[in-house]
Symmetry: C2
């Protein structure tokens, strides 16, 4: 595995791979890799000649007062995990290399970005779409891999790629969960044991929604209320949102008659957690995610 | 020469050229090609295996009340001119193909875009940067060619490409002028003979600035005033702006001590004209533009 820190050097490599008709896969991450990222890496590995994992904690997608400084970083461990997973290039640029002084160009998606997390984190998705556009231009992948845990991000990126005609296929991979159901997230590290236990209310609330929908409830407001109730039973949990939305437009659903994306965001102590479940529709059973071998 | 109207087909061709290690040059235009465009085409022809000229009147860069509908179109003649100039691909997409219903992603440059024309045409450069990003992603050129006549556009595009790491070199080519000095523009067609004569006040005002600077005037406000005076002497000319700015930042210059970009925008009847001259600095003499052979 080669570590590349210069965006220009990375781009030169990728241009050469393209000229050699080699296929490139990109897994863009903010590092502190867990089994969720490794699931993306594993899936991507099988699709391309060259597998690039980028690690860049993108300051532009953090708002004022958010956890940019506290965000966990462990690039030595990330490198080792990538090496073990058969990654070809570990792309690890600095802030200054990605955003030199005077950076003034931005990419934004203006519809899907306004829903859900977009309402609570203004500017967040503008940061995401800007860095994704930049990473696509630097790494020039044929395919880029995103996790379904960040369902809105994956949708926004798909829209960006389609609207601006980036020559890349976006692949969304299933959420990887701990055995007790909590979705893996780099931010889980922030939580104490007590908070970690409390966080189980999040997959619990999604299960409440699934049960309600499967048992015939179609009134989305009733489902949201049941989820809110379930979340409120856990002390110390503050709900940012609970929503039942159309999985492609993210617009609120009133009466459920097809697939629905149920999405939750909560804060537990200083940790913000999001999770979602796609319920109903033609593909009721999500594909089984890849899981790391047990130690 | 091949005419391609589908963005997806164009992109597939370009991806294949890239895999074959062929170089691609792009001259993006809004059609109604004149000798200014042909100068770009001629310069671009020498630099690449594959030369693509795009013709797309981009609605996103026209404001409400601007001349989108009136903008001159003559794709048959454009095709013939491109064929004669040795163009390989004439990319001529429809509005619907470029902006399908629901398009919601945009690219913007937020500093250079705010100056000069940006102040009078809000949203104009957002339209330019969005379509340029899209054309770069579709045509995947190694080099793209822009005219110095639209000096601010060329600068904004350079900044966009640098900030978002597009793998392309932006080449700016000298303004082509009629023998009497008027810069070529598709919009010159709008003017009556009388207006066309009046329009000569624009290169005239640039000459006033050049003479003043060469004779030692360094006070930019004095130069602007002299230009304003020169423009006002011509009846029917309304000045949008006259500015003396830094050629790289477009910020107003107070005292001229190095290269200066003198930029003018006027309206004559219903026609808006812009022009500029780079004065002083290390390269005093601009390179001689290519001119079409006399008939």
């Amino acid at each position: 595995m080669k570590t590349v820190t210069s965006p220009a050097a990375m781009q030169q490599l990728s241009l050469k791979f393209r000229e050699e008709a080699k296929t490139i896969a990109l897994v863009p991450t903010m590092g502190c890799l867990h089994a969720g990222h490794l699931s993306l890496v594993h899936t991507a590995r099988a699709t391309a000649d060259i597998l690039v994992v980028s690690v860049f904690v993108n300051p532009m997608q953090f708002g004022p007062g958010e956890d940019l400084d506290a965000y966990p970083r462990d690039s030595d461990k990330d490198k080792q995990l990538c090496e073990d997973a058969g990654v070809d290039i570990f792309f690890f640029p600095s802030n200054d290399a990605m955003y030199p002084i005077g950076h003034s160009s931005f990419v934004e998606e203006t519809v899907l970005s306004r829903e859900l997390c977009g309402r609570l984190r203004p500017g967040h998705f503008r940061g995401v779409t800007t860095i994704v556009a930049k990473l696509l231009n630097i790494v020039l992948p044929h395919r880029a891999f995103f996790g379904q845990k960040d369902a809105q991000q994956a949708l926004v990126v798909r829209k960006l790629v389609s609207d601006l005609s980036f020559p890349v296929e976006i692949v969304t991979c299933p959420t990887v969960r701990d055995t007790d159901g909590l979705a893996l997230s780099s931010r889980n590290k922030y939580m104490s044991t007590e908070e970690r236990n409390a966080a189980l209310c999040v997959p619990g609330a999604l299960e409440v929604a699934e049960q309600a929908i499967r048992s015939g409830t179609s009134d989305a407001r009733m489902i949201s209320s049941a989820m809110q109730e379930a979340l409120k039973r856990t002390p110390g949990v503050k709900v940012d949102y609970v929503e039942v939305v159309d999985p492609s437009t993210l617009e609120p659903i009133v009466a459920i008659s097809g697939p629905a994306l149920v999405a939750v965001a909560v804060r537990i102590g200083r940790t913000r957690l999001i999770d979602n479940r796609l319920i109903g529709g033609p593909d009721v059973e999500p594909p089984t995610p890849w899981l790391p071998p047990s130690p």
